[in-house]
Amino acid sequence: MSIGSTPLKFRVTIDPDRCMNCGRCIENCSYGVYRREADSIRINSRSCVACHRCLAFCPRDAIEIEEKPGDYRSHPVWTREIREAVFNQAKTGKIISGGMGNALPYPIIFDRLVLDACQVTNPSIDPLREPMELRTYIGKKPSSLSIRERPGMDTELLTKLSSNLQIETPIMIGHMSYGAISLPAQQAMARAVHRIGTFMGTGEGGLHQSLYPYQKNMIVQVASGRFGVDIDYLERGAAIEIKIGQGAKPGIGGHLPGEKVCADVACTRMIPEGSDAISPAPHHDIYSIEDLKQLVHGLKEATEWKKPVFVKIAAVHNSAAIAAGIARSGADAVVIDGFRGGTGSAPVVFRDHVGIPIEAAIASVDAKLRQQGIRHKVSIIASGGIRQSADVAKIICLGADAVYIGTSALVAMGCRVCGTCNRGVCAWGIATQKPELTKRLDPEANAVQVENLIHGWTLELAELMGAAGINSIESLRGNRDRLRGYMLDEGLLNVLDVKTVGA
């Protein structure tokens, strides 16, 4: 017996009184919802993913998209998503893949943490009138300084400092590869970080030639497939990141399907056109912290010890102990990617069920490094699920030096979080390689949007700090006294090292 059709996920309707029959919806939809028949526009709601491209470009607001117009008999255990996953696998016998980040309604710890502000006993600071120090240095700091005094008032620094990245705001853009996203999307973000004075990651997709003008603001990635990695690439980046894991799919590798490997992507990744780019789960030369140290040193040696090397891991149960190993590997920064981190494509079972939230991971990593007296050896970069400036402030209070944003930068370029990045037909031109779609992005206009977003968050961060009487990001970092937990259980409060509200 056939399983038959399932209820519509979305119902698309066009108000005939408002529609002027211009056909922009047909042109814009890359999922095949609309077609013209004779003089009218016909709709196939079943193809709709609610990316809202049609709605955004309808000149008359004639389109309505209704979510779950019909549903199953409600049941608290057998949710719609669970039932549809069973149908899907009963039909195909395959692994279910999806895009975007974790789609299960786990409680969000950020939303159970509140920030502090000054009242009476200490004055707030107005960032408009007084300097606010948001500049951050990513990299190793010396545990002590050795200084020699010269005759006169002059002094000489004897301690050899490691190279650091200077960022003007503690907000960077994480690694989204050319292949996972389009070139215009990377170009827009590259322009934005260049102007702001921050950095973005290349992902494991190499560095396209058109991004060379922005290479001083790019962090190049070395992942297990070593795609696009040669000595020129390593030398171009401002820093090098070893990707061990990703919050959206901890413990597994990545497969960029041949369909997404167009001539240009092939060239940047240095693989044959149309071939699958398979990144294995582990790096084949890293089976231990000692091996990781070998790769860190190998990369530093190749680039003559001029560039900071980051190591990115997914937030998992033992992140703190692993990060302590990374801090001893010679790496300059550890990136922790929480279980809400996004992805171009991941098995849904991993995306939704493997890993831990970034808030708990950062707090425990910071605490472990401080306990061991090695916090200065690495900067901590928090990634995965940073949605707003408040999240940035809170995660810095929990011990991060800076954040990587990903999805929010894409949303700034139009992404509606429809979660079908893995389909490769993104109507917004972001998660696709189809030229007719990628040309929908305007690298310059989109750069302004990304720049605006980071600028807005930076202003808000300065305001939040000022309200708390803090004028330097260094005084916010690890400052758990500025946080209180609201309706968090005692175990989690202990992990976060945060008091409850009222205490």
Partner: protein
Amino acid sequence: MSTLTIDTKDIHYTPLNQQIRKAVAEGVKEITLNNVLGQRFIGDGLRGDDVTITVNGVPGGDLAMFMSGPTIIVHGNADHAPGNTMDKGKVIIHGSAGDAVAHSMRGGRVYVRDNIGYRGGIHMKKYREKRPILVVGGSARAFLGESMAGGLIIVLGLGDTKPISEQGVGSGIHGGEIFVRGPVDKLYLGNGTKQAPVTEDERAMIRLIIEDFARSFGIDATPLLAADYTRIAAISARPFASKYTLE
């Protein structure tokens, strides 16, 4: 032609590589390193198509990592991963080498006169005119050519042991090819592989490489060229293509 000889006794790899880079920048074409004992990363990221480095001793891991151009000749054994992510150039090892030899190599050649450890040629890949080649004179341990995406591996089995006597050969291979002198028990083949006798075209193709290998070590190539070979390659160039269904 200007040359340079360095006694590497008690020199750490960083100052050693600095000396090598400086010499190459100044136009030195022949560099000899004596008393090499475990220094890692020799030639790491080094460029220079016409530069030859002779290593007398035993270099440490990741010899010629990210290297792009030079030739390195080792008179001794090498540790793990010589030719790691190498782009161009040649590594000739008069001895054996450790695990993950030619890991992720994209171009150039690695010749090992004797044996190699586990996971040799792992995730080698080709790109345009670049085609990495690993030739092993003796035998290879388990998981030879694992996850291989492109390029060529030849194992000649010249020593006392058979070229292949452990499992996992070509496990996860999705491109490239592995040639082994003599038959290979199918027990040793990894997932996703198939084997076949060598065609005349393939024999002609590997002939030039085997001759070059033999010349590098002063071996008589005649019996090698007359021998039978087994070719191991991927069943599918896209092993993951049918693994997923959309959410």
